[in-house]
């Protein structure tokens, strides 16, 4: 990204000599880099050509009276090879509107901060190429979570659901310092479920989670799967875990719409894991006598 900014600076520098209106010049003073004249927020800009992409970004700010009514802002972003939606948002924030708010951190799809609703689908902004999307690119905060500001949603309910399944390793009779070995086969079994980055895309895409706030949701159930299937935990602990997920608002709420599996940025087979836990829950309660 740093090299990218440097390139922008170089290409923009010759532009500073060109005549421009007062508004653009004022903007130019505010920003470190020059703003191209065509890249204003207005609809009557130059429109779309091969070099720019139009972003329509959801805006809402409860603390500013004029912004309390949600609206969409349009940004024209100069398109570059390999530009992600997050890059485009960062450009819009740095160059046009510093009040544009969104979460991001690592920019390489591992921190799980920038799950957004992009063109009607939950995706990671940093993992989605702008060139792969239909224009204008419509960016909204994750559905089914309350919007705090612009693209930032309240994740506390998601985190509560994740915590509800005890997402940490428990083992009763392990001596201090003893190594806990896992077979290769068992590691392979839980491999995909460990890849969860807590981005909340699955929970947001889930129709059932939207209507039932108590439903654990795909991410939490996947987290439960990761520990239930881990052989290193004792059978008693596995039974405890199964008791949590076989509750009324546990695995049985899943109606296999596959929405979570489709949006998961880490390609975790969430529905498959939920179905497997359903079978585990049935087996737990089956008694032949």
């Amino acid at each position: 990204m740093s090299t990218q900014i440097a390139e922008e600076q170089q290409t923009d520098e010759p532009g500073t000599g060109q005549p421009a209106d007062a508004e653009a010049e004022a903007e130019r003073e505010e920003n470190e880099y020059a703003v191209p004249e065509w890249a204003t927020e207005s609809e009557d800009g130059p429109g779309e050509n091969e070099d720019t992409v139009r972003l329509e970004v959801f805006r809402y700010d409860p603390e500013v009276e004029a912004k309390q009514e949600p609206r969409f802002d349009t940004f024209h972003i100069p398109l570059e090879q390999g530009m992600t939606v997050l890059d485009a948002l960062i450009y819009a924030r740095d160059q046009y509107d510093t009040s544009l708010t969104f979460r991001h951190s690592c920019r390489q799809a591992i921190c799980g901060s920038d799950a957004l609703f992009i063109n009607g689908s939950q995706r990671l902004g940093c993992q989605t190429q702008v060139q792969d999307l239909e224009t204008p690119v419509r960016i909204e905060p994750l559905p089914h979570q309350e919007v705090e500001k612009d693209l930032v949603v309240d994740m506390s309910h998601f985190y509560e659901q994740m915590d509800a399944v005890d997402p940490y390793f428990r083992s009763e009779d392990v001596e201090e310092g003893e190594e806990q070995r896992q077979t290769r086969e068992n590691r392979e079994k839980i491999k995909m479920s460990t890849r969860c980055i807590w981005c909340g895309a699955c929970q947001s895409s889930c129709n059932i989670a939207a209507g039932d706030n108590e439903y654990l949701g795909p991410a939490a159930i996947n987290m439960a799967y990761r520990f239930v299937m881990d052989d290193r935990e004792e059978e008693t602990i596995k039974q405890d875990r199964l008791e949590i997920i076989e509750q009324e608002h546990g695995v049985w709420r899943c109606q296999t719409q596959f929405s979570c599996t489709e949006v998961c940025p880490k390609d975790i087979p969430l529905t498959e894991h939920i179905q497997e836990l359903k079978r585990e829950a049935v087996k737990k309660n089956l008694k032949f006598w």
Binding site: Q68, S121, N207, F258, T261
Partner: protein, 134 residues
């Protein structure tokens, strides 16, 4: 944050164009399920009132069914009932495999397959249901 914005449920139904295969399968399965339940009760109501238990006259039953079958609307609705039932059966089999954890990777293709198969069966049944109706 003192205030937050709840966008409500409107967005869910406004976005039907963005539904994926699994979502459509779910919606159609729910819809056909309710239609079948509705049909079941209508079926019981019509037949139980037409059964000649009260009158002791078999002609009542025959007459009821014959007059129903004479209506073009009923013939067309029968085709609709068949398509609803066949889709519900085929998608039910698909869901059975999903519950068993078989072929989850091709769940969208199996949904399309059940749609196509439903269409084929319904089209093949049209001559039987509609013959003599018009």
């Amino acid at each position: 944050m003192s205030q937050s914005y709840d966008r409500g449920l409107v967005e869910d139904f406004g976005r039907w164009q963005e539904f994926s295969a699994g979502m459509w399968a779910w919606v159609l399965h729910k819809f056909t399920g309710w239609v079948l339940i509705g049909y079941l009760f209508t079926h019981i109501a019509v037949l139980s009132t037409a059964i000649p238990a009260a009158t002791g006259d078999p002609a009542v039953y025959t007459g009821t069914l014959q007059s129903l079958e004479e209506l073009t609307v009923v013939r067309i609705l029968e085709v609709g009932l068949l398509s609803v039932a066949v889709f519900h059966i085929l998608n039910g089999v698909r869901l059975l495999f999903v519950d068993l954890g078989v072929g989850l990777g091709s769940q969208d293709r199996s949904f399309y397959a059940s749609l196509v198969l439903t269409g084929a069966i319904v089209v093949a049944s049209v001559p039987t249901f509609i013959s003599g109706a018009f």
